[in-house]
Amino acid sequence: MINQTDWQSVRESLIADDRAKLGEPPTADELLAYERGELSSDDAARVQQLLVAYPELARAYATPFPSDDDDGDLPAEVIDRQWNAFRGANKDESGARVLQFWRGLAAIAATVAIALGALLWQTRMAQLTPRVLPDLPVLTPDGGRGVGHPDSTITPSGDRVLIVLSLMDATDYETYRLELIRNDSHERIWSSDPLPAPKNNSFNVEIPSRALRNGTYQMIAYGLRGNAREQIATYTIEVRGPAAP
């Protein structure tokens, strides 16, 4: 007759052999995924076998979480004590987190202050230091030297391009206006306010490099007298260079 000892012995030997064959018990994440039905059929079958091989884990897995109406048998003072202990332990941690946050913020602020200080110092030094300008392109009106003359090609370097527009002798107008137009799109990029007559027969114009893409532009000079406007000169500008994307 098979007795309880036989059953027990066989049970233990089956468990030992299964564990040797199947390996480590499933992780909590695997079991929760198994419970939600998220595992593939192969993985689910493996988890089932492991649960049979690890009955303590199977028992815990199968134990339902108590329901809402399954009220506790813990006295209120025990819950008070546990809450106070919990609050004490987590207050320290949250205080440490707040301190860490402010320390981090202070470090960032210090870094930004140093960077801004360095930038300011650099700008100030640049303002105080004399600078030699490269040869300025002096543009003469089209028709004077012809389109495509080497002098009309500029290569922007730095933030701004300075050009000199020679008016020749057209200085008998009350005021002047300059306009910059991109040739291929006929887009008017810039139009000046009325300008007084220049004393040296030329206008010095500073153009932001970012406003100039590679291509051909025309700067047009108008002479203004009362409400009348007369086109007095056109300057062709070829822009070539790395700073003009």
Binding site: M1, W7, A28, V52, P55, A60, Y61, F65, D71, G72
Partner: protein, 173 residues
């Protein structure tokens, strides 16, 4: 998420969480420790809860903590230090030798166990799993949850398994 709301959740659900660990044969002190761990993890995830019922979150966290604890113990057992038969440590934990039994009795017992094991192993996998889980003292509903089948299916598998084992083991079963 205000501290007041968390305190209210803590006070409302603490006993439930503690009781869950106690139901799983965790000693009282450790059940309190694991409950605190559960609420600590809940506190870290409070921004996910917003105004939802915290019950499902607590249930998942508590289960995860319990399963990890049991798994860690199982893994510890598996990786326990192996001792040699002559190791001095073995002497202190060596159980008293059982009373000497007759050789014939031992032979009979071992033969019985071999037959029983062979019969269990020859059961179809589904019946074998149900049978073995029931041997562990698990109830129908627990076996059903573990195997992902209905309680009726568990009963059916167990009925078939027992019938098969009786046939295999004859009157001895």
């Amino acid at each position: 998420m205000s501290d007041d709301r968390f305190e209210s959740i803590y006070r409302t659900h603490y006993a439930r969480v503690w009781r869950y660990f106690r139901k799983n044969n965790i000693a009282d002190d450790e059940a309190h420790d694991l409950s605190q761990d559960t609420f600590k993890r809940l506190l870290e995830r409070m921004n996910q809860i917003r105004n939802d019922d915290p019950g499902p979150f607590l249930s998942t966290i508590a289960k995860s903590i319990l399963l990890n604890r049991i798994r860690a113990r199982q893994t510890q057992k598996r990786s326990a230090r192996m001792v040699d038969i002559d190791d001095p440590d073995l002497i202190f934990s060596e159980p008293a030798a059982p009373a000497e039994r007759d050789y014939a009795d031992r032979e009979t017992e071992e033969a019985q166990q071999r037959r029983l094991r062979a019969a269990i192993e020859s059961l179809p996998p589904g019946q074998q799993e149900a049978q073995r889980l029931q041997l562990e003292g698990l109830q129908y509903d627990e076996v059903a949850k573990i195997l992902g089948i209905s309680i009726d299916a568990v009963k059916s598998r167990l009925r078939d398994a027992k019938r098969y084992l009786r046939e295999q083991l004859g009157e001895q079963s």
